[in-house]
């Protein structure tokens, strides 16, 4: 009887250890999946952010046609100093929207999707003295722009946030 109890106890303990191990593996796997998804999102966020920053850096006049909280439209110069209009906006039915870039000289002003799963895109505008300007249309005297962008992972397990101050040298 004593031996029987020992065997049963041993099986129970071994089972508990195996369950703990399986649980550990599942938890580790989930954590790894989320971590990898986040790293992947960070990597895929770099290029849209860089494109936006480069475009805003090209701003040619300090009067922005649209200097709104969630969208921006302005005149930019290309490397030959020709003018073109650049427009960034979010579009989508859900909270995770697409980020669109529309440039007057590219593809007949056809918008291009440059990022998806964007949950927040905010612009702040500042004048020469660093005083915030009210968002609106045809806002003048803009000297710097602060961009805040949040992009979530495909499985919505996390998000990456970018914040950057841009000082266009030509305005």
């Amino acid at each position: 009887m004593g031996t029987m109890l020992d065997v049963i106890g041993s099986i129970v303990i071994r089972g508990a250890i195996m369950l703990a191990l399986i649980n550990l593996t599942i938890q580790m796997n989930t954590a790894l999946y989320q971590k990898t998804a986040l790293a992947s999102t960070r990597q895929s966020t770099v290029i849209p952010v860089q494109i936006m920053c480069d475009d805003i850096y090209r701003a040619k006049t300090s009067v922005f046609e649209k200097a709104k909280l969630n969208e921006i439209k302005f005149s930019a110069g290309d490397i030959n100093d020709n003018s073109e209009t650049v427009y960034y906006y979010l579009e989508g039915a859900t909270s995770a929207k697409g980020l669109y870039r529309q440039v007057s000289s590219i593809n007949n002003n056809t918008p291009a999707l440059i990022a998806h799963n964007v949950t927040n895109m905010t612009f702040e505008y500042y004048d020469l003295d660093g005083v915030a300007k009210s968002p609106g249309e045809n806002v003048g005297g803009i000297k710097s722009i602060k961009l805040k962008l949040t992009i979530q992972t495909d499985n919505n397990s996390g998000s990456t946030f970018w914040e950057k101050n841009i000082f266009p040298p030509n305005i």
Binding site: L21, T25, L32, T36, L38, I47, Q50, R58, D78, D81
Partner: protein, 136 residues
């Protein structure tokens, strides 16, 4: 300790070790992005300096020199190469290429004489697909 316990413990160590390596790879991917951004920013500053060098080399006279400034300078751990070309209306174009840590950024600037010196009036970063690919 019995052999079965040794095998069990070894298995646990192997599993945890494999996950640790994978976590490390994911962390590394994130830090690579941050490092690439930092190097890119540094390269931009180096390239920007080239446009200033060209403007300074032009001196304090409105007359355009017969030999236009060009050069290569090592600074901030990188290198900037700049070249000046004529443009209409007494303006000049400066092409400045900054390199640092395997990254490369090119600026095109228009310089104009505004007494008492040459000044950068317009400046654009040249889009470069290869540099974009280095960012992620």
């Amino acid at each position: 300790m019995g052999m079965s316990k040794v095998i069990l413990a070894s298995g646990v160590f192997v599993i945890v070790g494999m996950y640790s390596l994978s976590f490390r790879a994911a962390d590394n991917a994130t830090s690579v992005v941050a490092l690439a951004q930092a190097i890119h920013s540094q390269t931009e500053q180096i390239a920007l300096a080239g446009t200033k060098f060209a403007a300074v080399d032009l001196g304090g006279s409105a007359s355009i020199p017969t030999i236009l400034p060009s050069g290569s300078v090592n600074l901030m751990g990188g290198t900037v190469s700049y070249r000046t070309d004529p443009l209409p209306s007494s303006k000049l174009k400066v092409t400045s290429v900054g390199t640092y840590g395997g990254h490369s950024v090119t600026y095109l600037a228009t310089v104009e004489f505004v007494s008492p010196r040459w000044q950068v009036k317009r400046i654009y970063e040249v889009p470069d697909a290869a540099e974009f690919s280095r960012l992620n």
